[in-house]
Symmetry: C2
Subunit: 329 residues, 2 copies
């Protein structure tokens, strides 16, 4: 067996993770650094974080053994189109002692590959935002949603947070007693569950708190909805059901009705054991009863697997995947 | 009969209108100037526009005959709480030669009073935003929505515009042929109805155009929805129906189910003969079959009527209202 090593990087908004694997799926090392997306952090900072993560993964590993690498990040197409971003990555790669080429993939493809070795299927990601992609021959093909908070991301953390505030405001308008979710949202935003003598003052105060912050921060309220739904709160459960329907609707825009390929669920709202994950599994299972349902796992390891499967000595990429992700066949 | 005169001002975002009336409802003069809301235009500019509008209405009228005045504007409560804004208005009032006091009311109350003389009822306004208010003894009582584009204004021009873009993006995601509304929206935003070889490029281009502008400019697309719905376009008609349901829902938050008081429809989307106005009339008529339905009219004249009805010599304000607004009993 070759003693080649592959390396994978998963670059997110708040962290960069690297994993070095042998071609039998053994983890040789992992590295971690801060957010390293050149679009949001700048090329220099991104290169620094990348190098830190790479060095962590390569402790005790001769970098000349590394035969291939893959970087997964949001906005991969933008990086490839940006010479400065690409140069910064090349520089970090070289400084880590790596001499092999590397490929860049979107984070959605890496999330997909962390859930299945099947070259064709669907990935549905719900975190702060929401996006769905059809994967064909391990490339992103058609995309649904991912349109951002103003125009889309239906069923995302932003969506759940915004809807929870809208329900609160509707209750205040109507003079209804506040349920547990509305109370939690009001307390989170204004620091108190008390309603002013003129309820409109509480409405105005709530709106002011929200509009003083960047809109995307509404996603911070999503865990309140998830927790309340898990506790049986009916308003929260209705929001979760609506979010799951939106997410399934996005999948339905691009996934054929008779597809039997796997569906991989990714993003913080779907990889944890949340009521939204359960509701999405039920919705997807209802529309595509034969689809194997998978959960996204370690993105850096999936990126390393994507690098490995292009090497000539890797003759059974599915078997390698099964060794790297023993719980996600 | 007294030869007293009353004056009313309707201050909007883009124009300020003034009307001088006799106590028999005769229009003595009207004036017009640019937007004069001190919150959005600054106190100095607001005072200048106010004075221009007042002078226009008072051409040939001895200002000492003016016995009372009313100013209607959005955010009236804020003006009253702001000494600089109030001082600027006092100054303009004085410079126009007026020696009587004036009152300030919210634009929603003035819109209501332009539709009915009944002291109790409901006003529903849909323009760029959407707000509903219960009126009690010609004062604004409870309010529903008016929460702004990020959290509310359901069924407003902003809402219609945003939803039209969301439907367009969903069609592009799904690879559906674009209908007349989606085609009109795409052409408005990108300058062309052509879809790129990779439809995702058209999705991205559309999102970029929208997100480069202030979000509220999505309201600019509302007329496309209205026009398409009037022409029988099914997607536009569905959006109009959904918007009407949202607006009726706002009314239902604050208007008792058995109310028989008038409902006044205001704002550009409801005072014109639009499919949305027709749909809202149907929704309101379904929920409150006994409610007289009225349409908001000349706000400056309504403000003048509000000023007149507090004068001791006006013994029958309803009769005066009927003379000022002969088509809106």
């Amino acid at each position: 067996m070759s003693d080649s090593v592959v390396i994978g990087l998963d670059i997110g908004g708040t962290s960069t993770r690297a994993t070095a694997l042998t071609l039998t799926g053994e983890r040789l090392g992992t590295g971690r650094a801060g957010g390293g997306n050149p679009t949001s952090h700048g090329a220099e900072r991104a290169a620094t974080e990348l190098l830190t993560a790479l060095r962590g993964a390569l402790v005790g590993v001769d970098p000349t053994r590394v035969a291939a690498g893959t970087i997964g990040l949001a906005g991969a197409a933008r990086l490839l189109a940006d010479p400065a971003g690409r140069a910064a990555f090349d520089h970090a790669w070289h400084d880590a002692g790596l001499r092999c080429p590397y490929t860049v993939h979107g984070d959605a493809l890496v999330a997909y590959a962390s859930g299945t070795a099947d070259p064709d299927g669907t990935v549905l990601i719900a975190g702060t935002g929401a996006i769905t992609a059809q994967v064909r021959d391990l490339r992103l093909d058609r995309i649904a949603d991912g349109h951002g908070w103003l125009l889309g991301d239906a069923g995302s953390g932003f969506w759940l947070g915004r809807e929870s505030v809208r329900r609160l405001l509707a209750d205040l308008d109507a003079g209804h007693a506040l349920g547990p979710l509305a109370t939690a949202v009001l307390t989170d935003l204004t620091g108190s569950a008390e309603i002013a003598a003129r309820p409109r003052d509480t409405v105005d105060a709530t709106i002011q708190v929200v509009t003083r912050r960047p809109p995307i921060e509404l996603a911070r309220l999503a865990p309140l909805v998830v927790t309340a739904a898990a506790g049986g709160e009916p308003v929260a459960q209705a929001l979760i059901a609506e979010a799951a329907a939106h997410l399934a609707d996005s999948v339905g825009r691009i996934r054929p009705p008779d597809a039997v390929t796997p569906v991989v669920l990714g993003g913080g709202l779907l990889t944890a054991d949340t009521p939204l994950a359960a509701a999405v599994r039920a919705e997807v299972g209802r529309h595509w009863p034969q689809a194997p349902l998978r959960t996204a796992g370690d993105g850096a390891a999936a990126a390393a697997w994507l690098a490995a499967r292009d090497l000539p000595e890797v003759t059974d990429p599915a078997a390698l995947h099964a060794r790297i992700f023993p719980t996600n066949p």
